[in-house]
């Protein structure tokens, strides 16, 4: 049986990373040239890792399912990126960022990983500036900052409401430079479908060329998974349509443990669902909560009138507005962390105070900041977000408050990795959202960009050398090795099986059904009966999927239905594992809210005595129950307290 070793270095917290760096092996420039690395995914984590490792001298092969590396969904991150620069002189520090992140994650992340993240955060900003990322500036020419949820300092750097775009274009530009120099071999419209393991080590991948339909073999001395999260299990989420859990799931099926699958972040400020024809949800940046106030009516009769469309928000008198976040959490107010804000919105709507026709929306109101600062200032800060909102909803947020509701946004769970970001399969790494390591049970705003770039620019390029230093004698991987042949056949069998079901229902119909089960029972509030029911329903769904799936179009060509079918097949399995994990974790923590474990005033209640561990699930074969490994979380530097934002 697999034994997990987190490989956290000994010594004082603040010295772990530097002493580890000093201790690990380094590969010489001459030998780097002989080593190949596959990076799957070109978002902030994959893009920055591919560029950095190519600059160091490795031969990198990068893969993405989109038509360009620049399309990866990191591009959609709006608000900003955190860094402990203390440019605002508000007493920020590495320790404070570390502490906020550990606390924000509800004490379910590793101290050592989070501290390292805080340590390298400042370097990320420097790197991005050097690449030409046009961050917002003050009149004097210095960098601007703003605040995000769950913290009391201003440490978020931003480029309008398009920070993710600009950071991604920064590392994509670095990738382009390396592609131009022949150090990165770029494979667009190419999707990972299996991982090849030879003598216990990851040695390559099997992909499908999405243009030709051909199955391809690619070998390397190490494989890096940087394919983001699995939020699309829920069908409706803020993820891009193509975001999938495929690569992470193949890692799991090949023996890598999958950690904390039940930790899903539900973002409080998304545009509400408009109806049955919806395909995805659009996020409104958390940064809006800097200047927007969240409220619902105090009186139920007002809410009913709003739901019937008889009145608008502007008809409700000041004293009849319930600024429920400010009321419940006076010290953090509208800037409580995402999990807290989401649950509070759900609570108001469940009580009947929702403000739109479906009763599933609350207000995010800019009236007060427009009065205080002027429309110009608000427009300068959030103009593009307001425009996006108006295009989608046909309502002007300068005149009427925005309507918002929580939606699936990010997955804190992911492939289990050790301190070096390596999975329990030697040579197989997972970085960015695809791994589980830094955000615990809840991620703070503006920390996803930070983690993706930390992993890709400043952590993996060092730690991967420690492994590759022992691989320098290994010649270029031969893709005619029997393991490649075997895996290619397995992939072909899998895809032809799906293609040949010739049933009557589309891929999307199964995906929507899965999404409904997940949102209902494995969503914002979970309980034992619901989770058990979810597992049964997912198993039934899987049976139906294999019996009744219909894929039209050609097999040996571009086939958008076949692409989706493979992803949904993985989502069905992932959904079941998420429900199992949620069932095992009989406590509430961060984004995981068990109705059986709450405080008297309805807040999430952790159980540190029994659940201060990372759940790492190990695959045992189709139809068999996975094994749960528990990595105990050791807290030597922070005191575990009930998380309070009151």
């Amino acid at each position: 049986m697999t034994v997990l070793n987190s490989k956290i270095p000994a010594g004082p917290l603040a010295e772990k990373w530097s002493s580890h760096k000093a201790a690990i092996k380094v590969v010489s420039p001459a030998n780097k040239r002989k080593l190949d690395i596959i990076v799957v995914g070109t978002g902030l984590a994959g893009g920055s890792a591919a560029a950095s490792m190519a600059e160091m001298g490795y031969n990198v092969k990068a893969f993405c399912y989109q038509d360009s590396g620049r399309r990866a969904h990191s591009i959609a991150a709006q608000g900003g990126i955190n860094a402990a620069k203390n440019y605002q002189n508000d007493n920020d520090s590495v320790h404070r960022l570390f502490y906020d992140t550990i606390k924000g994650g509800d004490y379910r992340a590793r101290e050592a990983n989070v501290h390292r993240l805080a340590e390298v955060s400042g370097d990320i900003i420097d790197q991005c500036v050097a690449q030409g990322v046009p961050f917002a500036r003050e009149y004097g020419g210095t960098l601007s900052n703003r605040s995000f949820g769950g913290v009391l300092v201003s440490r978020t750097f931003y480029a309008r409401g398009q920070t993710g775009q600009q950071l991604l274009l920064g590392c994509y530009a670095s990738m382009n430079r390396m592609i131009g120099q022949g150090k990165i071999e770029m494979h667009e419209r190419n999707e990972l479908l299996d991982i090849v393991i030879i003598e216990g080590k990851a040695r390559g991948i099997i992909t499908r060329n999405l243009v030709t339909g051909e199955i391809e073999r690619h070998g390397a001395h190490a494989v890096v998974i940087a394919t983001g999260g699995y939020g699309n299990v829920f069908f409706l989420s803020t993820n891009a349509m193509g975001c999938n859990g495929g690569a992470a799931w193949q890692a799991y099926k090949n023996g890598a443990c999958f950690a904390n699958p039940c930790y899903v972040q539900i973002h409080p400020t998304c545009i509400p669902i408009h109806g049955e024809q919806q395909s995805k949800l659009t996020l409104m940046s958390e940064s809006l909560r800097n200047d927007g106030r969240v409220w619902t009516p105090k009186k139920k009769e007002d809410a009913v009138k709003l739901q019937k469309g008889q009145i608008t928000a502007n008809d409700i008198a000041e004293e009849d507005r319930d600024f429920y976040l400010e009321r419940r959490y006076p010290s953090y107010g509208n800037l409580v962390p995402r999990d807290v804000a989401s649950r509070a919105a759900k609570e108001r709507c469940d009580e009947g105070f929702g403000v739109n026709e479906t009763g599933k929306a609350v207000y995010l109101d800019f009236k007060y900041s427009i009065e205080r600062l002027g429309k110009d200032v608000i427009e300068a800060r959030y103009g593009n977000l307001f425009q996006m909102y108006e295009k989608i909803t046909d309502q002007n947020p300068y005149e009427l408050p925005m309507q918002i509701y929580p939606a699936i946004h990010y997955t804190m769970g992911g492939v289990w990795v050790d301190y070096n970001l390596m999975t329990n399969i030697p040579g197989l790494y997972a970085i960015g959202e695809a791994n589980f390591s830094d955000h615990g049970a809840n991620r703070l705003g503006a920390s996803a960009l930070m983690q993706g770039l930390a992993d890709g620019y400043f952590v993996l390029p060092y730690t991967i050398g420690d492994y590759l230093a022992d691989e320098i004698q290994v010649p270029r991987i031969d893709v005619n090795h029997q393991e490649f042949v075997k895996k290619e056949k397995a992939v072909t069998d899998r895809m032809t099986r799906l293609y040949n079901i010739k049933g009557s229902k589309s891929v999307d119909s199964f995906h929507k059904r899965l999404g409904n089960i997940m949102w209902e029972y494995v969503g914002m509030a979970r309980n034992e009966d619901g989770l058990k029911l979810a597992i049964k329903e997912i198993q039934k769904l899987r049976e139906d999927f294999y019996k009744d799936l219909r894929i039209t179009g050609d097999y040996n060509a571009m086939n958008i239905e076949l692409e989706k079918a493979g992803r949904v097949e993985d989502f069905i399995d992932l959904g079941e594992l998420m429900a199992r994990d949620a069932l095992d974790r009989k406590e509430s923590c961060g984004g995981h809210y068990r109705e059986e474990s709450t405080t008297e005033d309805g807040e999430a209640k952790r159980n540190d005595e029994n659940f201060a561990y990372v759940s790492a699930w190990e695959f045992q074969g189709e139809g068999k129950d996975p094994i749960l490994h528990k990595e105990e979380l050791v807290f030597e530097n922070v005191k575990l307290t009930q998380r309070s934002y009151k």
Partner: protein
């Protein structure tokens, strides 16, 4: 903002099996679409009906569906990204269409963007241009503190205006010459406005323009059509800047 229902729409769409095949328009009917539905959701619904009827669905590029990834790329009723301003196709909503309308959907049409299938085109030519110089040559690590480089707010804002390009290709699809000048000038301007980017400005302008020509894009004749259809409002003032950067670089040769 109560949504209405569009009872019947006629969708005339370009179908092409692959790059080598001859393409043609096919016509489909679709019923009961809410005006709150996005244009791509309407296509999802049509595709669902096609699959249920045993036909191959229409292939189109799309991903983030919030107007930032730049993957979606349809020419709708003669306009890149359809009948609305400052948006991508995925942000277009059905409230922009009347009940009973016939909607014509085509792929980007440009020699440098060959059709792969149906409405999907190959925009690799853009990648090649960026690979030829759309970056600042800096390795990871060993860079100065972020605040060591002071940049005036105006310059940072102008750089940001240009950097907002999403690389969708609407400018090329709209231009009667299939010119990529707006795309190239946006990247050149973004980096030229920043002190970090000045160091390589001359080399960048020359090699990106050379690559643009090599990839088969047409010349700019200042019609301004690109600016009108750009979903991110990239200004043709950037083209003037590119011309200046290019000319200055050439004079020094």
């Amino acid at each position: 903002m109560a949504d209405k229902i569009l009872k019947e729409l006629t969708i005339k769409v370009w179908r092409q099996k692959n790059a080598k095949a001859q393409g043609k328009f096919e016509t489909y009917k679709i019923n009961d679409i809410s005006t709150g539905t996005s244009f791509l959701e309407m296509l999802d619904i049509l595709n669902e009906e096609l699959v249920n009827g045993g036909t191959e669905p229409i292939a189109f590029d799309h991903d983030c569906r919030e107007g930032i990834c730049g993957m979606c790329s349809l020419f709708i009723d003669g306009r890149a990204h359809g009948p609305d301003d400052d948006i991508t196709t995925c942000q277009l909503h059905m409230r922009k269409f009347e009940d009973g309308a016939t909607i014509t959907i085509e792929p980007w049409r440009a020699g440098a963007f060959p059709v792969i299938k149906d409405l999907i085109v190959d925009r690799t030519a853009f990648e090649k241009i960026l690979q030829s110089g759309g970056y600042i040559s800096v390795n990871t690590g060993g860079v100065p503190d972020g605040n060591a480089i002071l940049i005036s707010q105006d310059d940072a804002e102008e750089a940001m205006d240009a950097a907002a390009c999403i690389g969708c290709g609407a400018c090329v699809a709209t231009c009667k010459n299939s010119s990529a000048m707006l795309f190239v000038s946006a990247k050149v301007s973004h980096l030229a406005k920043l002190p970090q980017g000045r160091v390589e400005a001359a080399r960048r302008a020359k090699s990106m323009v050379a690559k643009m020509d090599e990839m088969g894009f047409g010349n700019c004749t200042n019609t301004g059509a690109c600016e009108v259809e750009c979903p991110k409002g990239i200004s043709i003032a950037n083209i003037a800047r590119l011309n200046r950067e290019f000319l200055t670089a050439k004079i020094k040769d």
